[in-house]
Amino acid sequence: MQYSLSVVIAAGRTIVDGSAEGHVWLVYPRDESAPDLERVEGGPDPALTFPCTGVHFADGSMADDVTLNWMVSSVTSIPQGRPVPVPLTPDQAELADRIRELVSSATSLQGQEDILAASFNPQHRPLGDTRLPDAPGTPRDIDGRPITVFQALTGAYLVPILADITGPAVDDGVIYPAQYGSPDALTEGWYWSATVDTAKPGIHEVILHVDIFRPAVRDGVLTFRPVRFQIPTWLDVRAVPAVNGFTGAGLGYLPLPWEAPAAAPAAATHEGEAHA
């Protein structure tokens, strides 16, 4: 059984506050069986605790594996799972390509902005639904400065990168995290996955080391500087015993009727089909 854990971060607020506390959300498939956890000061945050239920056989061995996949994104980052917004018509595509060429050939931020401003036509919106400064209410960046066209077009923040997974859950061998290659360029081509030893019940802390990219203008060029944040999350590991579906308990005889039912004519036509 594989689970996706979406870690959604308000990247801008995290950078401003210097802490991810209160700016991180964990999104995962709801498990009705998970117990309600109470928020204890200094203890696990129920909102950041992933219920992780395994199944074990009577001898204690695992009957069902649990694999976790972390998907980190920012509220304001380029959407994952779909391409960066693209133009709708061939004309717009051509125009956008031309703009990108011009922008990339510009030697300064001012030059890039000038090209974008000159080429911007509200009716074309060549780069999709990106917010632009002409929208009602000027959008501002984390430092309160109006967002430039360039910033708006590149996305306010790059996708945060999960750099490492540590914590007691790793030290105690509850999870075995590893990094895997991915074709998703937005995550720099890697993602994190871990198998869970569900034979170790309890609440285990998992620290996510996340790089959030702070946009800054250096020498007239927009750059993104990674800032490392440690985000505490928890795994609530439990294991339930495997139950025989026929008996509700242990092994027994299959509930067959004493005599075979009369063969249905329809079923007979399939006999011998696809014989291996």
Partner: protein
């Protein structure tokens, strides 16, 4: 005791979206003989005393599904004899003292194991059609019925006759 595995490959998204089970469910077994491998019309040859084990494998690992019941034709309503979710949980809560219980339902779907011994049957053989009820979540009782597969109970091996089983007696009659 011979173990006969029946693996049920399920394209959960297609099945939940209304695709016919014939086009979204594929059964295979490791039993000699039989027919219909790779389709929902799998006929598995088994003998009395064999252990038959069904395992559902979702084709997309992140689109889970599980077997809610295996109902043999002629055994009444599909859920007859199947422990209800709450009943099974109560059993688990009492039996597993070291299992943290919270009074809320356990994820019973994934913890269910579908396996059992083939009993002796009248006439020493017969074809027993069954319906798999596939569910996608513990939260909702809805299942999708996958009809078509069957067990064919064949005559016992000679050593079974030698042990003087009930089935052997039946043969003599």
């Amino acid at each position: 005791m011979t173990i006969r595995n029946i693996q049920v490959f399920v394209n959960a998204i297609a099945l939940a979206s209304g695709e016919l089970p014939e086009k979204a469910v594929y059964l295979v077994d490791d039993s000699p003989g039989g027919s219909g491998r790779g389709s929902v019309h799998l006929e598995t040859h088994v003998e009395p005393g064999d252990l038959v084990r069904w395992t559902l494998i979702p084709i997309d690992l992140q689109a889970p599904a599980f077997i809610r019941s295996v109902a043999f034709e002629g055994m009444g309503a599909p859920d007859d004899g199947i422990p209800s979710t709450t009943a099974a949980i109560a059993d688990v809560g009492e039996a597993g003292a070291d299992v943290p219980t919270t009074g809320r339902p356990l994820p019973i779907g994934r913890s269910l194991r579908w396996e059992g011994l083939v009993p002796m049957v009248a006439g020493s053989s017969g074809r027993f059609p069954y319906t798999l009820h596939v569910a996608f979540t513990d939260r909702h009782p809805a299942t999708i019925a996958v009809a078509g597969p069957s067990l064919r109970v064949t005559a016992p091996r000679s050593e079974a006759v030698a042990t003087g089983s009930l089935l052997a007696a039946d043969d003599i009659l």
